[in-house]
Every structure is written in C-alpha cells, then in structure tokens.
C-alpha cells in the first residue's frame, strides 16, 4: 500500500501498463517533456522513451484520428485531451470512427483507445475548462465513458481501460486530482468498467453521483444524518455502460432516488437514472426521482460559478424535499 492522490494513481496505472505491454503508447499535448499540465504523465517519457510517450502537435482531431489508425494496426494508444473543453475538434473522430470502426467492419477492426480528459468545475478556471459534458458522450453508441472518484478506483479503472478492446473516454475529475489521498494497492489490479459501487449503505434515499460530486454528497450526508436521514450513496463510476442492476436494487430498497451531476440538466445522466428507477422500481417509488444538476446554462466564469456548481446544501435541500414528499 502506498498513499496516493489521483494524479499519482493514474501515473502509476500508466506506468504499469507501459511496462507490461509494448503496444501501449501515450501521447497528446504537453504530455511528454512536461508530463502533462496536471502532471499525470510525469516521468513516463524519461522512463519509456520518446517513441512511447510523446508530445503531439496541437490538434485534437489529429490526436484521436491518429489513435484510431494506431489502434486498428495493433497499438494501444492512451491519448490526452488537455481539458474537457478542447475535445470538440476530435468529436468527429470519436463519433464517426473510434466508436464505429468495430461495427462498420463487422468486427474485423477494433479500436482499443483510451482518451483521457480532465473535466469538471470548481477550480476557478478560464472559459472552456470547467464543463461536464459526459451526457453527450454517453449518448454515442459504441463508446464507453467512465469516471473514477478516488485514487484507488482511478488506478484500477485505468488499467482496465487500457486492457479493454473498446474505445473509452476516461474522464478525470480534476477538482479532486490532488484533493483526496488514500492508500492505494501497489502493482497491478483492475476494477471492472461498467460496475457502480455502493459507497455507503442507507435506507431512506439513494443518491447517485460520480467524480467530484461524490465528495459533495458525502458532505451533505453528514448534515442529513443529523436529521436522522439515512442515505445510500452509489458511485456510478461508469456513464456507459450504466449499471442498472445496482441502481434498481438500491431504489427498490429506499424508494427514493436523487442523482447529482455537474453537467446541464436537460438530457443529462440524471434523466437516465430517473428513467431506470421508473422502469425497474416503479412500484417501490415513494417520490418522483429527483436531480441536482447544473443549470441549462453555460458554466459561468469563476465569479459566478458558485451559483452553478453543486454543493452540500443543494444536495441536502433535495434530500429533505424528497424524504418529506
């Protein structure tokens, strides 16, 4: 065991996979010499050389498109989008090729690519550095989208992602890159993608969250507990595939569900979870499924961002409301 934050844990996962699989290559903007603007790839170029860990020209479409080419010809690229707001030049390559190549070629070609991307708000950043647009990616057939919320999960999920034969958008909650430290198992281990994790059992209400929102929910739970409300917290971990079973089981038990996301409300992940609750646990529901999400607005710049972001009070407000319903 070793104490690590999420940056260390991701770095460790990349290190382990670079060491045990020659087909793994890591590249993107500033990931080589500098080790990434968040230092997730720090030291890897020195260790594995510039052929395997390198800086690319500044072009996201080029990065993901070339990864598709590498992947169909036998490599396992792990590429970085520097920030969530800069993935869009690559959107065409993701939605038109990476997610479709297997289907298009009827299984002849596959695209084992990991697209790493820091996302999310609350860090007082410039425009385009704070969005949480997982829903639009979760909506793409053929693409997997995952989000860890702890260093331990980040490492195990990253190793699984690199070993997976699918294209995976690996969203890294940058707000908690360094904020959470915990003991992380040394060496290789995997965490299956597509499985949610019940973080704390409870009986009155199920709260589903992921990424940096898990911590906000935990804070709200402390206040809820003072009022005698027992919350079951589920860390979703995977936007797609989505773990219906774990959600359904929990909602059947508690009869209430709230989803907490950073992204905009309409057509969001929360809507999907509400629908799962309705489909899978309709007769158990004691209140309409609820959601705590961003507004359907552009993420405000830092001066106004606190209005937009989820915080323990916003979550508690909804917990109280739904329990009293």
């Amino acid at each position: 065991m070793k104490i690590m934050n999420m940056v260390n844990a991701l770095n460790d996962a990349l290190d382990i996979k670079l060491a045990d699989d020659k087909s793994v290559v890591v590249y993107g903007e500033d990931v080589g010499v500098e080790g990434g603007v968040f230092r997730v790839t720090e030291g890897l170029q020195q260790k594995y050389g510039v052929e395997r860990v390198f800086d690319s020209p500044l072009a996201e479409s080029g990065i993901v498109g070339s990864a598709v080419g590498m992947a169909v010809s036998g490599l396992r690229p792990v590429v970085e989008m520097q920030f969530c707001g800069f993935i869009y030049p690559a959107f065409n390559q993701i939605i038109s090729h990476a997610s479709r190549m297997r289907n298009r070629s009827r299984g002849k070609y596959e695209t084992p690519i990991v697209i790493r991307m820091p996302y999310g708000g609350g860090i007082n950043a410039l425009e385009h550095h704070s969005e949480s647009m997982e829903s639009i990616f979760g909506h793409i057939p053929g693409l997997k989208v995952v989000v860890p919320s702890t260093p331990h999960d980040a490492k195990g999920m990253m190793i699984s992602a690199i070993e997976s034969n699918d294209t995976i958008l690996f969203m890294e909650p940058k707000r908690i890159y360094r904020a959470i430290k915990q003991e992380v198992q040394e060496g290789k281990y995997t965490i299956p993608l597509g499985k949610a994790n019940v973080l704390s059992p409870g009986s009155d209400v199920t709260v589903v969250a992921y990424g940096a929102m898990v911590r906000e929910v935990q804070r709200a739970m402390v206040m809820a507990k003072e009022q005698g409300i027992s919350v079951e917290l589920i860390d979703l971990r995977s936007i797609y595939p989505i773990d219906k079973e774990t959600i359904a089981k929990s909602v059947k038990k508690t009869g209430r569900v709230i989803t907490v996301t950073e992204g905009p409300r309409t057509y969001g992940v929360a809507s999907e979870i509400s629908q799962i609750a309705v489909e899978e646990a309709f007769l158990h529901l004691e209140a309409p499924p609820a959601r705590v999400t961003g507004f359907d607005t552009i993420v405000p710049l830092p001066k106004g961002e606190y209005h937009y972001m989820q915080d323990p009070y916003k979550i508690l407000y909804e917990i109280e409301r739904i329990v009293k319903y």
Partner: protein
C-alpha cells in the same frame, strides 16, 4: 516587399537590428515621429499593465492570466495600424492591440477576474471576445472577411493565432477558405517558439510557418516580430494589399514568450535560462527605445516620469474592476437566447427558492 521576402527564400524581414539601428533603409516604413512615439508609449503602457497583471495574479486578485511579456511589438504594430472599421479577431495574448481598438484595461481585468462582463467591450468597435479554443477563431476571421467583401466595405480583418495554433485543422481551413474567397484578412501568427511546453519543431516539419502560405496560394512573409518597424511595415503593406482586394495575407511574426505560458505554468520544466536570456537583447521595447533615443524623440528621464502615471492609471482601472459589483444569479441565465425559454426561467426561480431556504437554514444553524 512581399516579392523580396518570399517565404521559400528562408529570409526574415527586419528593418531595425537588435541595437535599434536601421539596417534596411529601403523598407523603412513611412511613419511620423509622433505616431512612432505614440506607438512606443502604447507598448510601454501595455507592458506595464501586463507585468502588473501578473503581480495582481500573484496577490490572488485575479485568476489565470497569459502574459504578453516579450511579444508586445506585434500587438503594438497592429494596434497602430487598425482603424475603427477594421476587425480584430484575437486569440488571448495580444493585449496591446485590444487596448488600441478601444477595449479598456478594466474590461480585460474583469475578464481575468472571472466575469463575463469583461468580454462585453463597451466602447470598442469590431473586436471579438478572447477565444480560448486554439485557432477556432481563425475561421471566424475568414467569415468576417467574406462579409466585408460582400458588403463592399472598406475594412480589413486582423486575426491572431499562436505557433501551436497552426497545427489545428481550423487554422488550415481558415487560410484555405480565405485564399479561395480572396477576402481581406491578415492572418498573424505569433510564433513565440512554444505552445505551452511544446516547441515549434514538434508542431511542424515545415521550414517556417510563413511557408505554409504558399500551399494556400496566399501572400506570406516571415517577420522579426520583435522589430516594431518591420511589423509595422509588413502590416501596413498587408492592409493595402487587402484593401485592393488582393488579400488574404499570412504573416509569421517571430518572437519569444519571455514569461510563463500562463500564471499556472512553470517554464523551467521545458526550457533553459540560457535560452531565455538569449532573447533579452532582442527585446522589442528596448530596441525601439534605443532607436527613439538616438533620434532624440525619447529619453530615460521621460520614461521614468511617465511610468508612475501609467502605474497609477492601471491600478485605478484594476480597482474599478474589483469593485464591479456582485455576480447575481440572474447573470448566470442571461444572454443565452434572444428570448429566455420558460424552462430556464423556471430553473432560476427554483434556484432562488433554494437560496432562500439556505439562508434560513444557515441562520438557524448559527443560532444553535
């Protein structure tokens, strides 16, 4: 001049050398001493503001900021040439040009304090807001060029991008479209040698960035971007070419980012002190100042007298920005649509109800 400095000849256009001596009389731009002096003062103002902004950031009074230090001659020359009716399409490292167009420091400060109001340039005509997604603004410049041509206006577009930006597809599409449409756009590449930590040689195998103009069938030139006079001359001639309907033009301005990429960046990770120092003698302000002093248009003493006034003015605008006022919940919801949809209005009301609940709750907590 464009003939004498064809990008395939590997030449860099210079008028004034590193000591501020005119080395290229033939191409000395026509510029009055008053205009030149004003340009220098504007650059000095921009540099002072830029350096002070970095220290405001260090004091925690603004968020992330991308310094302009070392690159001021490019924005300075564009600022000296752009007219009211011309368009400026910025990236994010050309403060001097924005100020020249009538953007106020207070607005820029507000922006870097994290308030969208800082992109609502009240008195500046035809300046787009700062564009963060690299090179995406370049295609807009081409579109504005089309409007100008379509409406037969007497106007030119000045578009900015960095060396790193030339790798994005948008850069190539913008210059290609502009070449096909023959629109009046001056594409200015600020080649400051790095895109964050990535050196130009990782961006392109081309001999230069200017040489890319040849592939698109547009005029191009590589200019010493730390030489104000060369930049002024190149832009002046480009503007004339555009006005005659013979644009677009691509200018590679060779410079060096003496500061960090942004206030969150640490350049020691990717470049040496020696390299940084080797650019000191090429400093754009020092060079122009030497020239002005030799021409008896300026003196160290005059500069010493001026600087405190500048600092005071900069600080005044900074404090004004700091006192701009509260960011209200409504401000988050404004300006998304011509008419705000009902659902969005409802989201604001819901949020206001929550705020009331929270206020009561926090009061009750305090009582306990």
């Amino acid at each position: 001049m464009f003939k004498d400095y064809n990008p395939s000849d590997k030449k860099t256009f210079q008028v004034m050398n590193e000591e501020g001596k005119i080395v290229n009389k033939q191409h000395m731009p026509e510029i009055t001493p008053e205009r030149l002096l004003k340009a220098y003062k504007d650059m000095l103002f921009a540099r002072t503001a830029d350096l002070m902004t970095v220290s405001y950031q260090r004091q925690g009074r603004i968020y992330t900021y991308p310094p302009n230090y070392g690159q001021e001659a490019i924005a300075g020359a564009a600022g000296a040439i752009m007219r009211d009716q011309d368009w400026m399409v910025p990236a994010f490292r050309e403060m001097g040009a924005m100020l020249a167009k009538g953007v106020t420091l207070k607005e820029l400060f507000l922006y870097f304090m994290g308030n969208e109001e800082g992109s609502n340039f009240k008195n500046a005509k035809n300046v787009l807001p700062i564009s963060v997604p690299i090179a995406s603004q370049y295609v807009h410049a081409t579109g504005i060029g089309y409007s100008i041509k379509y409406k037969k206006e007497n106007s030119v577009v000045y578009a900015f991008v960095g060396d790193g930006g030339t790798s994005e597809g948008d850069f190539h599409e913008a210059v290609n479209f502009a070449g096909v449409w023959r629109v009046p756009v001056i594409f200015i590449i600020q080649n400051n040698q790095y895109g964050i930590s990535t050196p130009v040689k990782v961006q392109t195998a081309s001999e230069s960035l200017a040489i890319k103009s040849i592939a698109y069938g547009v005029k191009g030139i590589r200019v010493d971007g730390n030489d104000f006079l060369a930049m002024y001359k190149a832009l002046r001639e480009s503007a004339d070419i555009c006005s005659k309907g013979e644009g677009p033009v691509l200018i590679e301005a060779v410079t060096y980012r003496k500061g960090a990429h942004t206030t969150s960046d640490d350049p020691t990770k990717y470049r040496t002190k020696e390299e940084e120092e080797s650019w000191d003698i090429k400093d754009p302000l020092k060079r122009l100042k030497s020239y002005l002093i030799k021409e008896k248009l300026w003196s160290e003493k005059m500069e010493e007298e001026l600087l405190p006034q500048y600092k005071q003015e900069i600080d005044r605008q900074f404090v004004e920005a700091e006192n701009f006022g509260e960011y209200k919940a409504e401000d988050v919801f404004m300006h998304h649509y011509a008419e705000t949809p009902d659902d969005l209005k409802e989201q604001l009301s819901q949020y206001n109800r929550f705020l009331q609940w929270r206020e009561t709750r926090i009061k009750n907590e305090a009582k306990k």
